[in-house]
């Protein structure tokens, strides 16, 4: 009986004591204020953390996508001297995601000087869907402007939009093939055609300014025209690149009797056209030497040669106006070495249209 009475008295005293009651209200008020502040900060922090987590998730997904990219570049870098490298072959997307190829890089190492040059072609914007194979050939081949020569070692790689580097499949590195097994390539050239290989793309003709008195004949080197259509008359000179691929890797000194001759089968009489002899031309002044200093073509070296000493007078064009002619090279020389064996080759190389 005493305990309930004691509790009742306590309750009455608590309610009637205003000081005690106000402190409770104050405490509740303080707790509410603190809770509201803490919960606001907590919720806001949570939202910030969510933002961060989303960013991390997206970045990790991007990294995952990047690591899942799988492009096989079965491509070959073809040297097109003097200034072009053509990348041919296929690009195969073996990964689970579409991939964009944005940039192609090509590096060129000269085997003699070990000097490396490089070039890139950006903004390719090639999209490869999953499983697709894109062929780079002919008009779709990617050409990069880069000074090179036939003996250079070329390699390439692609950059994807996600930042991956796709290296060229080493099995398709044509220059490695040439370097690692050169005799087969040289043999193919040398046994089928001869030691000297002719580069069609380098063929140029020049109008010759005929000298008089002490003024020698000369040509304007910078005005050389890359064309197989030539004027039907007048004095002309020609230049193109030859490469010595002799299998025994010997240098060859070419004699001044080496000549370039023409024949126009559809012209009346079918007589031979004019001859041009191998010449020494100063590419700075354009002066054509009236005499000839022997030119040596080193093994595996591409060299521009001139046929500029024309035998016929400008009237040669009478018979071959507006028709096609066959042009041949008659090369004669000796191998450089103690024995100086003879070397001779007839190269049937271009046809020319003599336009009237």
């Amino acid at each position: 009986m005493l305990a309930p009475l004691r509790h009742r008295k306590k309750r009455v005293r608590l309610i009637s004591d205003s000081k005690g009651f106000s402190s409770i209200v104050g405490a509740v008020f303080a707790v509410l204020v603190m809770m509201s502040l803490v919960s606001t900060v907590f919720v806001w922090s949570l939202s910030q953390n969510t933002l961060y987590n989303n960013a991390v998730t997206q970045t990790r997904q991007a990294d995952l996508d990047r690591s899942n990219e799988n492009i096989v570049a079965n491509v070959t870098c073809l040297s097109l001297p003097p200034n072009t490298v053509s990348v041919n072959g296929t690009l195969e997307n073996d990964g689970p995601l579409s991939t964009q190829i944005v940039t192609l890089w090509v590096i060129d190492t000269n085997p003699t000087t070990h000097k490396t040059t490089y070039a890139s072609k950006s903004s390719l914007s090639m999209t490869l869907k999953t499983g697709n194979v894109t062929t780079l050939s002919g008009p779709t081949a990617i050409n990069v402007t880069l000074a090179n020569s036939a003996a250079d070692s070329l390699s390439c790689w692609f950059i994807t939009g996600r930042g991956n580097t796709i290296y060229q499949n080493p099995m398709f590195n044509a220059n490695i093939t040439i370097i690692s097994n050169p005799s087969s390539t040289w043999a193919l050239v040398a046994q089928g055609i001869g030691a000297f290989a002719f580069d069609f793309t380098s063929f140029k003709y020049y109008n010759v300014i005929v000298g008089s008195g002490s003024n020698p004949d000369r040509l304007v080197y910078s005005s050389g025209t890359n064309s197989y259509t030539i004027p039907w008359n007048g004095y002309l000179a020609f230049s193109f690149n030859l490469t010595n691929y002799y299998p025994n890797k010997q240098n060859i000194t070419v004699d001044g009797t080496s000549e370039m001759w023409s024949y126009f089968p559809s012209s009346p009489g079918q007589a031979n056209g004019p001859l041009w002899y191998l010449s020494n031309v100063n590419t700075t002044t354009g002066i054509i030497s009236s005499s000839y200093s022997p030119i040596t073509l080193a093994f595996n070296q591409t060299q521009e040669v001139f046929f500029a000493r024309q035998t016929a007078n400008p009237g040669w064009g009478v018979q071959q106006k507006n028709c096609l002619g066959a042009i041949n090279l008659l090369m004669y020389g000796t191998f450089v070495g103690p024995t100086s064996y003879e070397y001779a080759q007839n190269i049937p190389f271009v046809s020319l249209y003599a336009k009237g």
Binding site: S45, T59, W105, G163
Partner: protein, 161 residues
Amino acid sequence: MKPRAQNLLRSGRAVSAVISNLILIGAVIAVGFTMLVWAQSQSSSYNNQYSQAVSADINQTKERIVFEYVYYDNVKNNLTVYLMNSGTIGNVNIMTVYVNSTPYSTINLKLLSTGAPTSSLGTSQEGYFSISPSPSLPLGKNYWIDVITRRGSSFVSTFAT
């Protein structure tokens, strides 16, 4: 009730207790609101700082730079580094470049497409910069290069001379 109220009014002690209570409540409310305002300003300041820190972290997380090609010309003692911003955020500035722990802070970044100088790389943009290592780099050795961005990201690659 009436005599009781009259007694209360007549009693000086009771009035003083009411007044003192009112003063006390006013003081508590004033101090309470001051505290509330201060706490809110502190909280706001903390929110701003935290927001900036989180935003900086997010931006840094989104940064990605890939090295497309690193070429050292030993004749000219010139190291050229080709980069691409492959991340999901633009405005990537390069502050410092370390080549085997040697720092270089003067970075003249240029766009790969045009060669025009630029201060930063946008998303998917490619650029390059050149530095002259001092001392020059001996041939036939491997080096590492570390690119530090303004946001504090670090991207490392290796190259051979």
